[in-house]
């Protein structure tokens, strides 16, 4: 009996190091609970599981509070994780400022360079930070607008000037629109209750309304849908969920797929030992197209047949 126990103990000791090496801790910081951000997180978790990487996830959500967001970083330091996953800009900035000795993978950040997270998108090997940008492919958005409303001269855009990502997106929109000879009219809101008013202010100033991935405006997208339907003004958005809520169409980043790709990056760091600072910033080119026939009819637009044919989802 003693011998068996001893042999078992010896065997356990022998196998122990490989067991220890197989288990990882991933600490997650996320500024706020939000369908897109939650989808990213689930994508990362699912992909690591698919790859057979055994990891414990400690998820922290700051509930939109800036002070808590920083405090979470201290919490994460105490957890001594193998990897820090930072979802959205504020969490990524606090993590990059405070944690220098372990890999940080950010995701759901629109402009990682101006956020100060990386020096450039190639991320030339200096530091412990890498990740994914969810920058909307603005050329594809403008192309979709022109395809659905061929007579368009001016695009109206509603956004919150207080959201860092939105400002970057609207600048990109203006740049892209100018490139193809279109004008842009802006309407800004400070909170979601201002969306109705902002949408009304665009009536008569533009031929189509576009809403970027702006948290404030998207949370009240129904107000814009109402104004646009009443005034036969086509509404095209940058996220597919808003299509089901009454916008005509969106060609957009699928946040879950984005999470999967971020999961691949995390796996490379955890399992293959790649240095975060050696990995360039990645973008998602795998886009989804959703269209809403009913909304198109209400806003006085007939959707071209080939758009319907190639859509990932058609809402009747």
């Amino acid at each position: 009996m003693k011998k068996i126990l001893l042999t078992m103990a010896a065997l356990l000791l022998l196998t122990a190091p490989s067991f220890a090496g197989d288990h990882y801790t991933v600490s997650v910081t996320q500024i706020v609970e939000h369908p897109a951000l939650d989808a990213i997180r689930n994508g990362v978790i699912d992909r690591l599981k698919e790859k057979g990487i055994d990891a414990t996830f400690n998820v922290h959500i700051a509930q939109g509070n800036s002070a808590t967001n920083v405090q979470i970083i201290s919490q994460i330091k105490g957890e001594e994780p193998d990897l820090v996953l930072a979802i959205a800009t504020p969490g990524a900035q606090a993590a990059a400022q405070k944690i220098k000795d372990r890999p940080i993978v950010f995701t759901g950040v629109t402009d990682p360079v101006s956020a100060g997270l990386v020096k450039d998108l190639k991320n030339s090997g200096n530091g412990n930070v890498t990740g994914m940008s969810d920058f909307s492919p603005m050329d594809k958005h403008v192309a979709l607008i022109k395809e659905i409303v061929p007579s368009v001269k001016t695009i109206g855009v509603i956004y919150n000037a207080g959201e860092p990502n939105s400002v970057v997106l609207v600048n990109a929109l203006t740049e892209q629109a100018t490139l193809v000879g279109l004008g842009v009219e802006e309407a800004t809101v400070a909170n979601s209750s201002g969306v109705y008013q902002a949408a009304k202010s665009l009536v008569g100033r533009c031929d189509v309304v576009y809403i970027p991935t702006d948290n404030t405006v998207i949370s009240a997208v129904e107000s814009a849908v109402k104004v646009c339907s009443q005034n036969k003004l086509p509404l095209i958005v940058a996220d597919v969920d808003s299509v089901a809520r009454g916008a005509i169409a969106a060609v957009a980043v699928d946040y879950y797929r984005m999470g999967l790709q971020t999961g691949d990056m995390a796996a490379k760091i955890l399992a293959d030992g790649v240095k975060a600072g050696d990995m360039p910033v990645e973008f998602l080119n795998d886009l989804k197209l959703h269209v809403n026939k009913k909304a198109a009819a209400a806003m006085g637009v007939t959707l071209p047949e080939d758009i319907i044919a190639r859509a990932d989802k058609v809402i009747e």
């Binding site: 002070a67 919490q75 400022q97 100060g116 400070a190």
Partner: protein
């Protein structure tokens, strides 16, 4: 709670300590509920971020933030006293105006300070301590210096007028002191402290963000009330120290909430606000419960 989490809570508590002292001065001393703070905290952050990015020293950046906060508070004070706008409304007006002003100052909603020299880095190099110890120490020292200056000030003639304004306006007026000026100065002083706090917070977290002021007044009031319940407010010196320690206790409560794991009983990260509120309520009622319990026993 890990030591990282504890020192992180101290760091945040002291970093927001000046903000809490500012809220104490308006809310308790002047009897002026001041919502300007939700705008003057990011104002301080914005001014300091722009100054640092423009190449000014991080210390000068903090002082510039203090000045900007003072002006913002004065605007609220003037709206209230000279234009007879209700204090709550006057402060809300300044707060929402500051949102646009902060966007103007930075030219964008978020300004990164990652990789820039800050007062935190300077103190870290000076002491040679690990950042998780040196940062709370720095903010603690700054808070104590400010408290000492405030205690000195509140014992001068002007300070007495300031203390009495919230208590008994008529008495002060009969002494020939203009309470309007005291209020304008007082709200200015309070917001100068809040903006200083904002500047320190931004330099610590590596970015100024136009939305970072959301909930400042809630944190400030909760900290003030926790502080005076736990540490008492018999004298002004004690009350100021209680406000600072209240800020630390409030952040410790949040650290506890963040680290809370109850196994099968499914608490998710989304419950953080609820847990924090519950912990704060406990902190508030504990001293009263204790009093009742002791009174019950002696009877």
């Amino acid at each position: 709670m890990t030591s990282y989490a504890l020192f992180g809570a101290l760091e945040q508590g002291f970093a927001y300590g000046l903000m809490v002292i500012g809220v104490y001065l308006t809310f308790r001393v002047l009897d002026f509920p001041d919502l300007t703070v939700d705008g003057s905290l990011p104002l301080g952050a914005s001014v300091s971020a722009v100054a640092i990015t423009a190449g000014y020293s991080p210390f000068l950046a903090v002082l510039m933030a203090t000045g900007a906060g003072f002006i913002a508070g004065m605007v609220t004070g003037i709206l209230n006293t000279k234009f007879k706008i209700l204090h709550l409304l006057a402060s809300i007006l300044t707060m929402i105006a500051l949102y646009s002003i902060n966007l103007r100052i930075m030219g964008r909603p978020n300004m990164a300070l990652l990789g820039q020299d800050t007062v935190v880095d300077w103190f870290n190099n000076l002491t040679g301590l690990l950042p998780q110890y040196s940062t709370p120490l720095l903010f603690c020292i700054i808070s104590i210096i400010v408290i000492l200056i405030l205690i000195w000030f509140l014992h001068t003639e002007k300070g007495f007028a300031f203390l009495a304004t919230g208590d008994n306006k008529q008495m002060i007026t009969s002494q020939g002191i203009n309470t309007d000026n005291v209020i304008i100065f007082g709200v200015g002083l309070s917001n100068a402290l809040v903006a200083t706090s904002g500047a320190l917070v931004a330099q610590n977290q590596g970015a100024a963000d136009v939305n970072m002021g959301v909930g400042t007044i809630v944190a400030g009031l909760a900290s003030v009330i926790i502080g005076e319940t736990v540490f008492g407010d018999k004298t002004i010196s004690r009350a100021l120290i209680a406000a600072l320690l209240g800020s630390v206790l409030y952040r410790i409560a949040i650290a506890l909430a963040l680290g809370l794991k109850l196994g099968a009983f499914s608490i998710t990260p989304s419950d953080l606000n609820l847990i924090t509120a519950t912990l704060v309520v406990f902190a508030l009622i504990m001293p009263k419960m204790k009093k009742k319990f002791l009174a019950g026993r002696s009877a």
